[in-house]
């Protein structure tokens, strides 16, 4: 079935990187558009958080709550994981399945570390009475940071499922595209975190 087949989608030339071949081009572009929608979603959450930042209703303020050491380590873990994910993509381009598996697994471990810290941060807050019902500020904090955290959780499962596919099928245009897309997602979450780090934690510590 190799001769002159017209596909549903526009044909792609083979000079492109593997992940852009077959219908990868279309799907990667679609994913970028999805990320645009995600940007709007997070922007709305950030705006909400900024509106409510001072509305502590007599409860704890951001200055009292946030722990510099904790959020610095979280940031370090997530930023590093973005880097290792990048190395995974690099190995994918070199057709090195083993390299992909190693770097992606490291990414997942770093992601899990980040999540663990976030969960312990949240449960600490709740244990001292700073829960979602305490004030509008805390509601906004938990929903913004929690939305990011749940994205990371989903991302970890997603990465693992793609990893299984790469291990089963090797690096084909399809698996390459999937790995590339989940990588985009992971980097995006990293960028969002950079904003959370500056807008929520750093600013919240001084103001």
């Amino acid at each position: 079935m190799s001769v002159h087949m017209e596909s549903l989608h526009e044909p792609t030339t083979s000079s492109l990187p593997l992940e852009y071949q077959e219908d990868g081009n279309l799907k990667i572009f679609g994913f970028w558009v999805f990320l645009a929608a995600e940007v709007v979603l997070f922007s709305t959450l950030f705006a909400t958080y900024l509106v409510f930042h001072g509305n502590v209703a007599g409860g704890p303020t951001s200055q009292q709550l946030f722990d510099i050491r904790g959020f610095t380590i979280e940031t370090f873990l997530l930023l590093t994981s973005s880097f290792t994910m990048g190395l995974g993509t690099y190995e994918m381009r070199r057709q090195n399945t083993k390299g992909v598996v190693v770097w992606v697994l490291i990414t997942v471990l770093l992601g899990l570390g980040f999540l663990g810290m976030e969960i312990s941060e949240f449960s600490h807050y709740v244990s001292i009475g700073a829960n979602i019902s305490r004030s509008a500020f805390l509601s906004a904090f938990f929903v913004l940071v929690g939305t990011h955290g749940s994205h990371v959780t989903l991302g970890i499962f997603w990465i693992l499922s793609i990893l299984v596919q790469v291990m089963r099928k090797g690096i084909t245009p399809k698996t390459a595209r999937k790995l590339f897309v989940v990588g985009l997602y992971w980097h995006f979450l990293d960028v969002v975190w950079v904003f959370i780090f500056t807008v929520v934690y750093l600013t919240g510590k001084v103001m």
Binding site: H9, G30, F34, V40, A57, I132, K169
Partner: protein
């Protein structure tokens, strides 16, 4: 035993509320049994599953959207009639205040999110891939998922009527009224969660069509050679992508307040009720352009086709749509001038709102100039488009009146406003989708809708529409406020209200006649054997009606605006036989497989939503887990495409008289 059963009935099914509920229960059970019976009797289950429930074909998905939109028009229209029955005479006690609140809430919500949106998405599903010479949308599977999410969200919203009670805080669901403190019960949860589910589907649709239009146009079709309807959908998709995530967040915040005790909109713990109004309308105003721009697109196609002229001012049309899209994000405060944002803020939003009248006016003139000196053909589709112009103008001009902030203190939340938005929503969106339905029907089903009955439906509906809503302007100026369940005698409001109610019945009649037209035309089809019943200008008319599964046997080459018209009338040459397909160019075609998963995932979403509405987390969380499992299983699916062989294409095209 019986006693405790009745108690459960009162708690979950509101049996203590009397005959209205009992009748609905009986009707729902009977209808469901009827549908199941008919399907079983005709042995159609397999057909339903294979041809429809699992389909990923954009044309079938479009048809399902439109069928569902019709059903929702019926439901929302019944609500409208109930409202009008209650308001027909002063001091009426047909409904009590509580029930009235529920009825206008479900009316507004259903009409906007479960009628207008799916009707438009249905038309774009049918027309856009055909207009750009594509074989499907970019992501057919995702498209099916969007549909089923909408479908089950609509179902979820509708069952609130008989299970637990409908939402009752208005379609705008303002906090703190809709918050946990003032609005106990599950009604508002139904609103929040079903809108959330359909909203996710809509975001996916926006992404899908943006990618489809940008990446899958036939060779030669540059952006500035696209049909105007496709342009309107491109712009609409962009608005969806930027507006709907705001709705997602807004609904989620109130859901957190209601289900998990957050304090976003409370007044006691630092929450801000005004935050809701702002967020809601940051989505809400763009939303009204999401439902109007595609209607503008339909009118552009219809007016040009039935004037047998090229659309006047193509570039101006595109530029004004883009301008409207940008401006639509800068006007949201005009929905609450009276909430006290201050003079300078109000002035800004007053001005930005009036600015939108400029590009809209440009479009109006372009349609008029398109008709100027054209050979106008008064088909049913064209009648809807023609009626749109003066009626929408009334809605638009009164909109500019409302935009004058100080004057708005007089009309705000009065029947003047109710009249305004029905004049734009009905004369714009509803006339638009009806026009599009008559226009594209032959392409969907291979036969034309009966024109004579269609014109009856048009005249009855259009005249009754004016009878219903024109008096509302005057009632508003006389002081009648919206959302009031009854009014005293002696204010002089009685006669106008009675006229409105009679008008509403007329609209109901018009709708019934249109449904009759559909039924009649299915039984006595006037077949469209040419594929081009209107002497059309764009590519969808170059293929047989109904369109074959793969749409285009050979992807066409586009040379300019109105691509098909140019093929039919080549400059300086003898007209070539445009219908014939060049057999030597036919190749096997790659098409996506059907899939049951979008359906199943959406059922799981429905179950999860129901669980969260009732705060039954034992049901809600497993439901969500099934959704996630479904998505992961999809990721592991590799063999999801099939081929249509050359022989099969040749056979189909021969049968359609193209070879």
């Amino acid at each position: 035993m019986l006693h405790s059963l009745l108690q459960l009935g009162d708690k979950y099914f509101m049996w203590n509320e009397g005959p209205m509920i009992w009748t609905s229960d009986v009707l729902i059970v009977l209808t469901s049994l009827g549908i199941i019976g008919v399907l079983t009797y005709l042995k159609r289950w397999n057909w339903l599953w294979k041809e429809w429930l699992t389909t990923v074909d954009h044309k079938k998905i479009g048809i399902m959207y439109i069928i569902a939109a019709f059903a929702m028009f019926f439901r929302g229209g019944m609500d409208g009639l109930i409202i009008r029955a209650q308001l027909a005479v002063p001091n009426n006690q047909f409904l009590n205040a509580e029930h009235y609140d529920q009825v206008f809430t479900t009316h507004g919500t259903i009409m906007i999110l479960f009628m207008a949106m799916p009707f438009i998405i249905g038309l774009m599903n049918i027309a856009v891939p055909l207009q750009i010479g594509a074989r499907d949308v970019a992501f057919p599977y995702l498209n099916a998922l969007s549909f089923w999410l909408f479908f089950f969200a609509a179902l979820l919203f509708n069952i609130s009527f008989v299970i637990g009670g409908s939402p009752d805080a208005g379609w705008t669901s303002y906090a703190p009224l809709a918050g946990p403190f003032y609005d106990t019960g599950v009604g508002e949860n139904y609103y929040l969660i079903s809108l959330q589910i359909t909203g996710i589907g809509t975001i996916a649709t926006g992404i899908n069509f943006l990618v489809t239009i940008l990446k899958m146009r036939a060779p030669g079709m540059t952006l500035m050679k696209m049909p105007m309807f496709t342009w309107s959908i491109l712009v609409t998709s962009i608005i969806i992508i930027f507006a709907f995530p705001v709705l997602t967040v807004t609904l989620a915040l109130l859901m957190f307040d209601r289900l998990f005790g957050a304090q976003f909109f409370s007044v006691t713990h630092g929450g801000l009720p005004m935050m809701w109004a702002n967020l809601f309308w940051i989505w809400g105003h763009p939303e009204v352009y999401i439902v109007i721009l595609p209607a503008f697109g339909v009118f552009s196609e219809v007016v040009s086709t039935f004037s047998h002229k090229r659309l006047f001012g193509y570039k101006a049309m595109v530029v004004s749509m883009v301008a409207i899209a940008i401006l639509s994000f800068t006007t949201w405060v005009h929905h609450f001038f009276t909430m006290g944002a201050g003079a300078s803020v109000n002035s800004f939003f007053s001005f930005s709102t009036m600015l939108i009248a400029v590009p809209t006016g440009v479009k109006m003139f372009n349609w008029l100039f398109t008709m100027y000196k054209g050979r106008i053909q008064f088909t049913t589709s064209m009648l809807w488009a023609l009626a749109f112009i003066p009626n929408f103008l009334i809605g638009g001009l009164t909109g500019v009146m409302l935009a004058v902030a100080p004057a708005d203190y007089q009309y705000h939340n009065s029947y003047f406003l109710v009249a305004h938005f029905h004049y734009v929503l009905i004369a714009g969106t509803v006339f638009g989708v009806f026009s599009g339905l008559y226009y594209w029907w032959p392409k969907m089903f291979g036969h034309i809708l009966n024109e004579k009955i269609g014109k009856w439906a048009f005249w009855i509906f259009m005249i009754s529409f004016n009878m219903t809503f024109m008096p509302m302007y005057f009632l508003g100026l006389m002081g009648m406020t919206r959302r009031m369940y009854t009014y005293p005698a002696g204010l002089g409001w009685g006669p106008l209200n009675m006229i409105e109610t009679i008008g509403a019945l007329g609209m109901g009649l018009g709708f019934v006649v249109m449904v009759y037209d559909i039924v009649y035309s299915i039984r006595h089809p006037e077949k469209d054997l040419t594929g081009d019943p209107w002497d059309g200008r764009t590519l969808e008319w170059s293929i047989p009606s109904p369109a074959p599964e793969y749409n285009f046997a050979v992807i066409p080459e586009v040379k300019g605006i109105d691509a098909y018209w140019m093929m039919k009338h080549p400059k300086g040459q003898e007209p070539e036989p445009t219908k014939a397909v060049d057999k030597s160019k036919i190749r096997p075609i790659h098409m996506p497989n059907n899939s049951y998963r979008p359906f199943i995932i959406s059922v799981a979403f429905f179950v999860a939503g129901f669980g969260f509405i009732w705060q039954w987390y034992w049901l809600g969380i497993p439901g969500l887990i099934v959704v996630v499992i479904g998505l992961f299983l999809r990721s592991f699916e590799y063999d999801d495409e099939h081929f249509i062989s050359t022989e099969e294409i040749v056979q189909t095209e021969t049968a359609a008289g193209r070879l």
